[in-house]
């Protein structure tokens, strides 16, 4: 897989979540995704950006246009140095939440994406990566 372009963004305040959405929208339009697919990847990114802010204490988002052979895709990776997720399996179950959320952030983002990767270590931080192919 090769990275065609990359853009990094900070997630520090709630306005940044809106900016991430707009940036992901722009990239998905550039990739040539249809409206429904755009909506899916932007919504998934919104969920994860919010998680990064609310549970990770802020962090950053990396937007990459990637290519693997003949297909191209959009990969968005969220990273924070927050408390981490102690029980990943539990966190991925629908409805699970430690805060006020509906607990859909992680599992929802996974459902809306073609590929999903989660790395987390309590005390070190979390990195979530979603990918949508064209």
């Amino acid at each position: 897989m090769r990275v065609v372009s990359a853009e990094s963004m900070e997630i520090r305040v709630s306005d940044d979540v809106v900016l991430v959405r707009q940036a992901v929208r722009k990239k998905s339009i550039a990739l040539g995704l249809g409206l429904v697919d755009q909506t899916k990847v932007v919504t998934a990114s919104s969920e994860l950006a919010r998680n990064t802010l609310d549970y990770g204490g802020g962090g950053k988002a990396l937007l990459e246009l990637v290519e693997n052979g003949t297909r191209s895709g959009l990969r968005v990776t969220f990273e924070d140095q927050g408390p981490g997720i102690p029980d990943i399996q539990l966190a991925l179950t629908d409805g699970y939440t430690t805060g006020n959320g509906m607990g859909l952030g992680l599992s929802g983002a996974k459902r809306l994406s073609h590929e999903f990767e989660l790395w987390s270590k309590p005390g070190e931080g979390t990195r979530v990566s979603i990918l949508r192919w064209k």
Binding site: S14, V18, V36, T39, K40, V42, E47, S107, G108, R111
Partner: protein, 130 residues
């Protein structure tokens, strides 16, 4: 500070959400709406989301909160104008959106509200403030 405008339409209140909302704006809206429901003794709230291209779980929660709060204040809520792409994504996302009344547009929303208010009255809704 920016606020989402709330219009009075007869016995109903109409909220049109057009901007990409952040937390502060959402909380302000909830405050303003509950205040206005009481002030005008409104029986119905229409939330027009036809301009929203994204509805994530945060917005979903906000809509559900508004509906619950309004209900406590004896007002019924209907969410109108959801875009097809948003609807498809919400279903995929798995957001339950249960108990939230929906309609295609404002006009149909008002018909639905009148029906809901009638049903609530006939039910002798005990959870109302009246």
């Amino acid at each position: 500070m920016e606020r989402i405008p709330i219009l009075k339409m007869g016995e109903f209140l109409l909220v049109t959400i057009q901007v990409d909302m952040h937390d502060r704006l959402a909380l302000t809206l909830q405050d303003d709406l509950t205040a206005q429901i009481v002030k005008f003794r409104a029986h119905g709230v229409l939330i027009d989301i036809s301009a929203l291209e994204i509805v994530d779980s945060f917005i979903g929660r906000m809509l559900a909160s508004i509906a619950s709060m309004a209900h406590l204040l004896d007002a019924e809520t209907v969410v109108v104008g959801m875009q097809p792409a948003v609807a498809i994504t919400l279903v995929e996302l798995g957001l339950p959106m249960k108990g939230i009344r929906t309609a295609l547009d404002v006009e149909k929303g008002m018909i639905a509200l009148r029906g809901a208010i009638l049903a609530a009255e006939q039910d002798g809704d005990a959870s109302g403030i009246r």
